[in-house]
Amino acid sequence: MRIPPPRLKLALVLAVLVAAHFVLRPRFGPSPLAPDLVLVALLFFAIRSRPGAGAAAGFVVGLLMDAVTPTAFGSMAFALTVVGYLAGWLKAVVFPDNLLVNTVFVFAASLARDVLQVLAAGQLRSGAAALLVTSPFAALSTTAASLLALLVFRSWLRGVPTR
């Protein structure tokens, strides 16, 4: 099956983001404030796909992330499934290439991911402090990274149909 060029460009952007995530992450050391480029990649994909595809992608990515942090296996899959579905669903009401919309969207998605993961893992009591203190800053750094990525790859992402 021939992949249409816009979809190929999207796949390349996502691959670059995932690779950058694993290359850049060690530079931040153990800091919880490092940007989550995998989440950015998921959102870039989900907002240009159907909600079901967003949910499936969120589940797969979440399960893989659970494999590298297996304290509550399945919790990230749960959180990213919801985030991926909502991202696909919200594309009907937002313009994904708009920088302001993208900013609010990524920030909210990052916070929602953290809240859902803590809830799914049943760690609300122990994770409340992290949610209040580090999550907003992590969401900010992820939002900044997504803005940068959007500026860099804007021309490539513009042609991708949001279906």
Binding site: A19, P51, G52, F59, L64, V68, P70, F73, Y85
Partner: protein, 288 residues
């Protein structure tokens, strides 16, 4: 398909969402014995390439940090090594001073030379010992190698010495053994730097190069026997009357960091055997 369904998702999307959520909850409910193998299988298969990339990035970061640390350590060692010769020289001086101090036994005070910047440093020296330590004007200043100069002014906690390099400096000298006497003054030579000249040696008496010249004890300022320098050669002669000899100094004031100031009670002593003549200023051609 209705417009609303088209815009906000179809039944298939909802089913996909529910399926994924159920699978997530199943994963959460899995016993630990099943979670570990699944997570391990994912890490060694799908995640293996990205984890390899991350491992490489971590290694590169550690190597960069290690390089920076090693470079900083190397620079620190290089800086420390630059001072080693200076420290060795100072250590040797202090050891010589300790030996001289033990030989002199009494009647002196140790002082540090507070070298100043400027052209006058080396002609006059600021010493760290003053009136409170017993230093008085005209007290002899010596180093392990020999004579350095004489105190000219005294403050409560410091003093100023006129070094032998000063144009006004004079000291009554004799050749070891006391057979010949003369006056030693400084002589600024263009090529060889600060030197001394020994004036008033009778024409008929020749001094071999390397002959040691010491203080004579005449005049009541310097004790007898402090090394001043060694003969280098004839500088000038007035026919049939006297010769002036060029001397290598026993001590160069610019090179000393610690000295001893003698008290007046030592003025009448003879100190010939107290000095370490190997500590004198080394110069090629000098016979000790």
């Amino acid at each position: 398909m209705a417009i609303g369904v088209e815009r906000y998702g179809t039944r298939a999307d909802t089913i996909a969402l529910l399926a994924c959520l159920v699978l997530s909850l199943v994963a959460l409910a899995l016993p630990e014995a099943l979670r570990r193998p699944i997570a391990g299988a994912l890490r060694t298969s799908v995640l293996a390439p990205v984890l390899a990339v991350e491992r490489q990035a971590v290694t590169a970061r550690e190597q960069r940090q290690s390089t920076v640390r090693l470079r900083a350590e190397r620079d620190s060692f290089a800086l420390a090594a630059a001072f080693v010769p200076e420290l060795r020289a100072e250590n040797a001086q202090l050891r010589s001073l300790l030996r001289l101090g033990s030989r002199l036994g009494y009647g002196f005070v140790d002082a540090e030379v507070l070298h100043q910047t400027g052209l006058s440093d080396g002609l006059t020296l600021v010493l760290s010992a003053g009136r409170r330590a017993g230093v008085v004007p005209m007290a002899p200043v010596i180093a392990p190698g020999g004579l350095v100069g004489m105190v000219v002014s005294v403050d409560p906690h410091s003093s100023v010495a006129m070094a032998w390099t000063h144009p006004d400096f004079r000291v009554s000298a004799m050749v070891e053994g006391g057979r010949l006497f003369g006056i030693v003054a400084s002589r600024r030579a263009e090529a060889s730097g600060e030197m001394m000249e020994l004036r008033g040696i009778p024409y008929r008496e020749g001094l071999a190069p390397g002959t040691t010249v010491v203080t004579s004890g005449l005049g009541g300022v310097y004790p007898r026997g402090i090394p001043i320098g060694s003969v280098q050669g004839v500088l000038s002669e007035s026919a049939g009357w006297e010769r002036t000899y060029l001397l290598w100094p026993a001590v160069h004031p610019a090179q000393v960091s610690h000295v001893m100031v003698l008290f007046p009670s030592r003025t009448r002593d003879t100190l010939t055997t107290d000095f370490d003549t190997t500590a004198a200023v080394a110069h090629p051609g000098t016979v000790r």
